[in-house]
């Protein structure tokens, strides 16, 4: 066993994987003058692996692209295959898909809120918000069988139905979030320390966001009301009232700073609850999958010829998958792109001119799907000395800044 060596092909990886990223900064005093992004070398070559798998197998591979977006990638992938092969999804399945995707958004945003608090040294909020996140994870386990990697998506529909008996349990969890929401809002939006650390920090202007093709809450916090659920509604979103959320809904102004990104994410939790409630009220009856027999489905896909794209608004922004089927068992091309891929570039304008202690919260503010920044190399311009700051050091600096500026 120990002798066995693997040669892992390095494929196109999108930064949504838990992979290290190196940011090279040039700083002068406390100010960041230049930022260089260098994503790490820890690539799994997912798309290359997809070349040896049939479309149904790829669903499960796509699910493992990201642990948090584990409904978003299969959602986009299934839509791409359905578009390529011309498969119609039953309406009930479209509603179930949306419910799962929105539950995922709640858990992702609550997780992010906790992480953001942790980055500025507010650990009690981290514990409280992650405790709150447990409820939605339990609900996801109840509905799909898994807390993450739900395994519910299938080409042409979903694998599990939501029965009448299960609906009260879903509503109970939604009520739980409605109850605690005012507390979360109070902590994040009215707390003077959080405001001090997030207001006018890491600003991304609307022009930069458009130029760099930013997606998701990062773009919306800069005032672009871009949301695929609103712009190009798919699945059940076409029947529901979805409006892109920008920070001016609450405050009347758009600053594009970290604080605005907090507002957008918190309001989206409320929006997700409303979407799920609308889905539960209007859910049609009927089949949950277009073709129940997998062998038949595979045969159908084997004969299919065509190409298609599948887009989905994941918690972090647009996920897009492209699939080309060419009358063979394996798809000819599978391309996946996660939102962080587009948002990565926005770090540069956000970080320029900031202080080192602000790096953690600014970097975290786009909700990157990268484990953490691996390490940061800091070049001291005066004496040219090179030192490496670990995440621990940075975190310490960040916490110190919070203590320093808190009255």
């Amino acid at each position: 066993m120990s002798k066995m060596t693997y040669s892992i092909p390095i494929g196109p990886v999108h930064p949504s994987l838990k992979e290290p990223v190196t940011l090279n900064f040039e700083i002068y005093g406390e100010h960041i003058e230049k930022v260089n992004l260098a994503p790490g070398d820890n690539h799994r070559g997912i798309e290359f692996m997809g070349r040896q798998r049939n479309p149904i197998q790829i669903i499960y591979l796509a699910e493992r692209i990201c642990g948090i977006c584990s409904a978003s990638h299969p959602f986009a992938f299934c839509r791409a295959v359905e578009n390529a092969a011309g498969i119609e999804v039953p309406e009930r399945a479209q509603y179930i898909r949306v419910i799962i995707a929105e539950l995922e958004r709640i858990h992702s945003h609550v997780l992010w809120a906790g992480l953001a608090a942790h980055e500025i040294g507010f650990d009690s909020v981290l514990y409280l918000s992650w405790r709150a996140r447990e409820e939605v994870l339990d609900l996801l386990e109840y509905l799909t069988g898994n807390r993450i990697n739900y395994g519910i998506f299938m080409i042409g529909g979903v694998r599990r139905d939501i029965s009448k008996e299960q609906i009260p349990r879903v509503r109970k969890t939604l009520d739980f979030y409605k109850d605690i929401y005012s507390k979360i809002e109070d902590v994040f939006l009215n707390d003077p320390t959080i405001a001090l650390r997030t207001k006018n920090v890491g600003i991304l202007t609307k022009e930069d966001a458009i130029r760099l093709c930013a997606v998701g809450p990062t773009a919306r916090a800069s005032g672009i009301n871009k949301d695929i659920r609103q712009d190009q509604p798919y699945s059940a979103y076409a029947d529901l009232e979805v409006k892109a959320i920008t920070p001016d809904i609450l405050t009347g102004v758009v600053n594009g700073d970290v604080y605005d990104r907090v507002i957008v994410r918190l309001l989206e939790v409320v929006q997700s609850i409303q979407i799920i409630e609308q889905c539960l009220d209007n859910m049609p009856s009927g089949e949950i999958v277009a073709e129940k027999k997998l062998v038949k489905l595979l045969n159908q896909l084997k004969k299919a010829k065509g190409e298609g794209i599948g887009r989905h608004e994941a918690p972090r922004g647009e996920v897009i998958h492209y699939v080309k089927l060419n009358e063979s068992e394996l798809p000819e091309v599978w391309k996946a792109r996660a939102p962080t891929y587009n948002n990565l570039m926005t770090w540069v304008p956000m970080l320029l001119g900031q202080q080192i202690a602000d790096i953690p919260i600014v970097v975290a503010s786009i909700d990157p799907c990268i484990a953490c920044m691996d390490r940061v190399t800091i070049l001291n311009k005066v004496n040219g000395q090179k030192s490496i700051l670990t995440k621990k050091d940075l975190h310490k600096l960040s916490v110190q800044k919070t203590r320093r500026i808190t009255p």
Binding site: I10, K226, D231, D239, Y322, V333, K335, M345
Partner: protein, 178 residues
Amino acid sequence: MEYMRPDEIVKLFKKRLNESAIIDSRIETKTAGLKKSIYSVIWLQIRLENFKEAIKLLCTIQFPHFAIISGNDIGEEIELIYHFSIYYAERFKEISINLTTRIPKKNLKIPTITDLIPGAQTAEREIKEMFGVTIEGLPNLPNIFLPQDFQKGVYPLRRDEKGVDKTVRKEDEVRKVE
């Protein structure tokens, strides 16, 4: 803002570019939900010589949202598909536009679009690394997805002799040897 219909957009492309520039065009309409709301996807295949022109034309409609570039090795040529969307930020209005072009392997070069759309840089660097396509006008930056010491002249997503198939050892083959 005035919104053009998908067929009008295709017509605009046909009118403003050379007649021979557009090899193939296709409009797909998809439905969603109980109300069967419609959204459109446009597929255009454009000749390499006119590709930059087509992107410029696209930018005149609205600054497009750039999603990603997909690549495909189809033998003598590399096919690149640029996925865009326009009319975003408005309910039911967004139209996806996919521009396809084919580059012969003998002369693997395509002009950069980062001068028009800076957000495309990561995707262009990825295509450069994975397919060995020279992006003209893109600054010579280090590898973004591949390791810095990755073998020169090997492109992981190519299907020909420049691909990585030879260096890949599949698990069952390794077991057989042992």
